[in-house]
Symmetry: C2
Subunit: 408 residues, 2 copies
């Protein structure tokens, strides 16, 4: 296919692209051809598009095209990628349509396919069964793949991940002997922390075989295998009665149509006397459901508005005791991850192909921008049943932050 | 009408009443007739029912009868009224049906009639236009008729109301010159506090003529009339553009069907750059709407689940930054009010008739019990628009509580 477009038409097309995106401060350059800058001529980033076909692909599917073409290396960016994403998010509010990256990332994180136990397994498998060595390149030493909580501006990522776990335990008012269910436990850091520092008995579950194996080995090595049981299964298959529930970063994978099932499981695990903490990525308002477009980063995910997530708790008559929006902490966590990821490009390239590597870099940069601009929120919701006798609601734990920080 | 019931049938009837209520530890005595105690024979309260007709009235309408008959003085209670309400709430979860007081109080606080501007006026008028002297008998010196926040166990009601106002200002990160809209301002304490301590310019509105007159006189007396404007009008009629919104205890009166209107007003007042705080009585789950039953305390009110209230914010794309459940603080506030109210019975009796006085006492005691048992929640929700540049979300204000406490 030979594309016959004159140079003037080409320039106009590039200008249209910028205008559709709300005129971010970006110079767009078609290799060996035309270029365009926003009206006023101010730009701080350069985006190079390999050829006309690439440009047309982006125009044909603006919500998806940029991510695809960037991942394939046919679009390159000069300048700070996260800062560019931020500009694109901000500009998109002025522009027509959702903008490229904004659209791409929101699609990545939208409800897309039913997370039935089988579907859930394949979704989780795809993302979390990447080799642990890959995540080790850019996560903290505890291998925690959720937002940290930075107790002060000088905290490292390692400090902040430990501070996050301590804070979760304090919010839950954990005590020695408490039985805890940890839903979606990743590589097991929080479950092991609860056992080690609070003498809790934890049943932690996860669909990722790689992660569960890793967590079991670590529990055995640290002498905690008697206190923490790692279960490789769907949350709907996990029995038992517990004093407390913790779930850090699982709700996004549950899918809104499965919230009633999660609510029933909560009642079964906690009854009226339990309490729990839900930590999840959220939005400032519900987004309409949309059909599945093939996704590479988070297949099957749905990011709920807070009101949607709270229905899980209201169905079980759990009262919300405390909510914190930690999106600025997640933006900083992602900045740490991206920095480490970029510093480890050579090692990462030995594990993933170039396309997936570029997609991952865009995902980290775009997510950082999304939390900075408020396109995404990060909620920690503390809740309690009617008969819960622990005093969770007075934020006494907040007053003890300093004490906590000294333990880090 | 002569009621012909034998003594055995009468005893059985009283036993049925206790069983329906879930067998609270209450001895029920029909004056000059039978009595009953719960199975097991343990009781800590005595409830005296004047006659058979009274008993039948309570049975005919268990959700409403107790409140009515108590108010009319035909049912009396020996022992701590709030503690009795607590027992009745707790027992009601075991019993059939909602229980008397629980049902009565939940009806009081349920959506009952449309709060159209005209309806809203007559509802508000009925409750808040009682003479200020009546409220002065049992409220704090600032005349604040919403939950206080107790910074420590030794705080007085006066301390705690000032601490609440300070905390609201800190959550909103108020700064000198900020334009604030205060929706449902009561006797004006918060608006005046914001002007006095934060140099804010406040437009505060309220439907109660009595309260607005009181607030204006106070503003003039304190030299703050140039900074605080008190408007006697419905929130739907108040124009202007503001940096921050505060509403303490108004949402309960808005009515769920008017949330979209409130959401539109918020957008008009705050745009994308503002932030706000909603303080309201809530529930742990939505209650079904119910038709209006004549009410004496809170006509027209609706107490939303948190998810319902959040729809007001999500409609305007405001992100929730922080939520606190302060129900234990409200229970303590109500205990203070009840204590002062009971100590001032003689003066109160010169202002209200006996029936309204008894109803008021039951309302204070029952509300205290409802917050203690988790039948009601008290939420403070902090939110911000996309373009809000204030750092609201890090709980820096929490770390400064001590400093705040020293100002009290």
């Amino acid at each position: 296919m030979i594309l016959r477009i004159g140079a003037r038409a080409e320039s106009r097309l590039l200008g249209d692209v910028l205008r559709m995106a709300g005129n971010p401060p970006v110079r767009i350059v078609l290799e060996g051809g035309a270029s365009a800058v926003p009206p006023g001529g101010e730009w701080r980033f350069t985006m190079r598009v390999r050829d006309r076909l690439t440009l047309l692909r982006m125009l044909a599917d603006p919500e998806f095209g940029f991510g695809e073409e960037f991942s394939r290396g046919r679009v390159t960016v000069e300048g700070d990628l996260a800062a560019l994403c931020r500009e694109i998010y901000t500009a998109a509010r002025r522009g027509r349509g959702p903008g490229w990256v904004a659209g791409l990332l929101s699609r990545w994180l939208r409800l897309t396919q039913a997370a039935s136990p089988r579907g859930a397994w394949s979704n989780i498998h795809r993302h979390y069964d990447l080799p642990a060595e890959f995540y080790r390149l850019w996560l903290d030493s505890e291998m925690i793949y959720t937002s940290a909580w930075f107790p002060h501006s000088g905290a490292t990522l390692e400090d902040a991940q430990r501070a996050k776990m301590e804070r979760v335990c304090r919010k839950l008012a954990l005590e020695s002997g408490d039985r805890v269910v940890d839903a979606g436990c990743g590589w097991g850091a929080l479950a092991l922390y609860m056992a080690r520092h609070y003498d809790a008995r934890v049943r932690a579950f996860n669909l990722s075989h790689e992660q569960v194996e890793y967590a079991r080995r670590r529990a055995a090595r640290e002498g905690l295998a008697g206190q923490v049981e790692f279960v490789e299964d769907d949350y709907r298959n996990v029995g038992g009665r517990f004093d407390a529930f913790a779930s850090i970063g699982m709700l996004e994978h549950v899918g809104a149509e499965h919230y009633p099932e999660l609510a029933r499981m909560l009642r079964r695990w906690l009854g009226e006397s339990g309490r729990g903490l839900l930590h999840f990525i959220g939005r400032s308002r519900p987004e309409p459901l949309s059909p599945w477009i093939r996704r590479r980063i988070f297949p099957g995910a749905y990011v709920p508005a807070l009101s949607e997530a709270l229905r899980v708790l209201e169905q079980g008559d759990y009262a919300v005791m405390d909510v914190e929006n930690l999106r600025s902490h997640y933006a900083r966590t992602l900045a740490c991850w991206l920095q480490r990821f970029e510093a480890a490009q050579a090692e990462a390239a030995r594990m993933l192909d170039g396309e997936l590597l570029r997609a991952w870099r865009l995902y980290l940069a775009g997510s950082q921008a999304a939390f900075q601009t408020g396109n995404l929120q990060l909620y920690q919701v503390l809740f309690a049943g009617r008969e819960c006798r622990r005093r969770l609601w007075t934020r006494e734990w907040a007053a003890r932050e300093e004490e906590s920080a000294s333990r880090i």
